[in-house]
Amino acid sequence: MPRAIHPRIRLGRRPKALAQYLLGFTGFSPAFWLKFKGKRMRFTSFKPMLQATAVLALLLVATGPLRAQTRAETLRYVTGASVNTLDPNIPGATRESFAVSLSTYDRLVSFGRKQLNGKWVFDLDKITGELAESYDVSPDGLKITFHLRKDAKFQDGSPVTAEDVKWSLDRAVTAPILGKNQLLTGSLTSADQFKVIDPLTFEVTLPKPDKLALPNLAVVYPIIINSKVAKQHATADDPWATAWLKEHTAGSGAYVVESFKPGEQVILKRNEGWNRGTADKAAFFKRIIVQSVPEPATRANLVERGDADLVIDLQASDVQSLEAKAKLKVISTPQYNAVTFVSMNNQIPPFDNVNVRRAIAFALPYDDMFKAALFGRGAPLFGATWNDGKPPNGGYPVPQPVKIDLDKAREYLKAAGLPEGFATTFSFNVGQASTAEPMAALVKESLGKIGIKVDIQKLPDAQMSTQINEKKLPFFIEGIVAWLPSTDYFYRNFYIGNQRWNYSSINHPELTAVAQEARFEPDKVKYEEAGLKLNAIHFSEMPQIPLWQPNQDAVMAPSVEGYTYQFHRQVDYRDLSRK
């Protein structure tokens, strides 16, 4: 093969030239190093390397303390999710976006906090002013008057006026955004209900004395926007500037957005002029970094090594080992406004038979599931004892008097006319796999003992929500959460109507009537009675089986203080400080 040797003279040189070219390109060329050092030296000598190291070390020493100081004033929060919009009202907004909006925008009012079993949680019954200095409710409960703070300013320096409040709340109830459906639950449905009395006084009129009206103004959506700025960016198609506000903020909140990279990180800078916190002063941290770190093990490493200050979505196993090492502060709060269920579609046979549902309720291995899925980190909703078979209180959720009892389960199956059992599928979504997978295996094993053959089905999240929406899943794991956890709210939203959140598809006229009535019941004793009635119906019908309230495990550096469990199940950065 003479041809192969033929080009040797030309070839001998070319690779070298190429290598030199490449080296030059990547910045490793000797010429580059010579330039960097500013002296003529041989690249192969170790001296320049040593000197470069020395310079670098000096630089590190010099910038060290400065960096450490700003580090203490910075909160680095890592999360598996991400922020996708700066306006929490945009359909598709993530929970992390909610958390950011709490810091960048103010609302008229906010929730206070209380201690529950030694841990700080939000207090639905204590509404304090945020942009409103105070508020009065008329004796008939139909008018709420807000007196705005005189010193409140937007981040651009202009004062917050009742006009801005009106524009913002009009937007929340009329624009095609998320706030609309939420505010509906507080009887806030139309712009006519909002009235400007004078630049610092604002009035809300209600059709009925709805006790959820005021709390609804403290949730994530009704942000107060600088209407002058927003209007400049409104277009004919988009009169409420939703497109612009998605990527920009125009609020009066405790933090200013410094940089926003959707899906990666958000950096917030303190608004020095903000004084609407509980302590009437600016927030503690000068900077907040909200960073997406998808891998849970990495998040655990980061917080353990002290590189991150706070994380709330670690795997239960990691939380347990971090807690055992006792180097970090772990605050575990049962999510008392959330419930995890094993749900059954009450319209699909055989689950349309109440005895089948009861059989399942007595055939679930509750304790094993609780340990396998959550490592026992949560508040169980099983294994209670009810005196005379009556619910102990009218709250929701209430621990159920169920435990594994296979003989009882078999009896119920016999009563249902299915002594031999049946076959069904049991579904959960991929996003929940770390907790749901061990649960599903245990359910399958246990139900197998009473003759129910279970096929486990793991569905991608979008597919699972579609099938639930179309009411096609017979038997599955799901969870619910309510921002405003009152008994009637839970029953009205999760047990009524042919809609997605009625997981069990229950259609029970009495339950519906009692829940609807309870909504406007001003009398506390009567409300409690209604709650007791609802809880009793729930147990006798057993539309779905409440399992537990999982813990929110907040793992933080020992120096971080003030963490409070919030209704939106995210961190309110304004609560935090460093000692």
Partner: protein, 328 residues
């Protein structure tokens, strides 16, 4: 130009595939605590899902023709913007990994071929087997555990740059280059330290095919007539091995490197996830899981175009490595 029909095919195919997949993105994205039917309809309208599939396809093709790939529901940004921001991150990582892989695989393969059956050969084989059978996310997590968690040598594995370091003015999108242009050596070093672990864990996985193919083709080339002739005329060892044998053996390595590169770009999703690397692959995976159509379609189109480009580059490289290719 001849690749345009292929790209068009890919585009239509992905579009239809996404529609066939079960799962309604509108329902998924309407998962707020109070999302009702109204909201689902709103999102559906926003995503254009209220129209018929052929109509959607026509609109989509029209948009793509104008360089608009649609809007991502997940990040709320235009897909083109997302991809433009994320592609350099993926490319930088993949290039570095490929460089590390080539720099280590080719000498390893040559060494193994020079002494087949020796302890070195077996050593290389063992190394390659290990590299292939340990999935990238395992090696990634291991590297993090050792170098970050235990030794504290590596910076925290969170993306392309330490959160406390400021980004250089973006010129190419490649941090290694941008920092050099800006003359910020500290920044360059910080970015380099972030890059090295993910690149290493990706490289480990692809060293095996590269080293094995180098070894195989080196064996053929070393056993050929021209090498025997070269040896017989008394040329130096280096001359024989590097100039004649390797030069002739490098063609299949280039082919494999081209394929490996394309695979790496799409398949490095696990590494991107483990190291929180803001690349295109993890972006596409997140989009796929939430049935966010536009980003997935955009990603596939991007990958297809890159594949075409890589093939072109490989062809050009052939010409440089072996002038006979262009003659024939």
């Amino acid at each position: 130009m001849s690749s345009l029909p292929a790209l068009f095919g890919v585009l239509v195919f992905t579009f239809l595939l996404m529609r066939v997949l079960p799962g309604d993105p509108a329902v998924f994205f309407a998962s707020g605590p109070n999302a009702g039917k109204e909201e689902v309809e709103l999102i559906r309208k926003q995503m254009g899902l209220d129209k018929s599939v052929p109509e959607q396809l026509t609109l989509y093709l029209y948009d793509v023709g104008r360089g608009n790939l649609g809007r991502s529901m997940m990040t709320g940004q235009l897909v083109t913007k997302d991809l433009r921001e994320r592609l350099p991150a993926s490319l930088e990582l993949t290039f570095t990994a490929l460089l590390i892989a080539l720099v280590s695989a080719v000498p390893l393969g040559v060494l193994a071929a020079l002494k087949p059956g020796s302890i070195i050969d077996h050593g290389v084989r063992l190394f390659c087997a290990l590299g292939v059978c340990v999935p990238t996310f395992v090696s990634g997590l291991l590297l993090i555990y050792v170098f970050y968690y235990l030794l504290g040598l590596a910076p925290d594995p969170t993306g392309r740059i330490d959160v406390f370091t400021s980004m250089p003015p973006s010129r190419t999108g490649f941090l290694m280059i941008d920092f050099l242009i800006a003359g910020d050596i500290d920044g360059w070093w910080a970015a380099f330290r972030q890059l090295i672990l993910p690149a290493l864990s990706m490289a480990l996985f692809v060293i095996a095919p590269l080293a094995r193919i180098t070894r195989a083709s080196m064996l053929v080339s070393l056993g050929s007539d021209f090498v025997r002739t070269a040896r017989s005329v008394g040329l130096s060892w280096r001359h024989v091995v590097v100039t004649y044998a390797l030069r002739n053996a490098i063609l299949p390595v280039i082919t494999i490197a081209g394929i490996v590169f394309s695979t790496m770009l799409g398949a490095n999703v696990l590494v991107e996830k483990v190291f929180s690397w803001p690349g295109v692959a993890s972006y596409a995976l997140d989009a796929l899981l939430s049935s966010d159509y536009a980003p997935v379609q955009g990603f596939v189109l991007l990958m297809a175009s890159l594949f075409v480009l890589v093939n072109l580059t490989v062809d050009v490289c052939y010409g440089i490595a072996d002038p006979r290719v262009s003659i024939e």
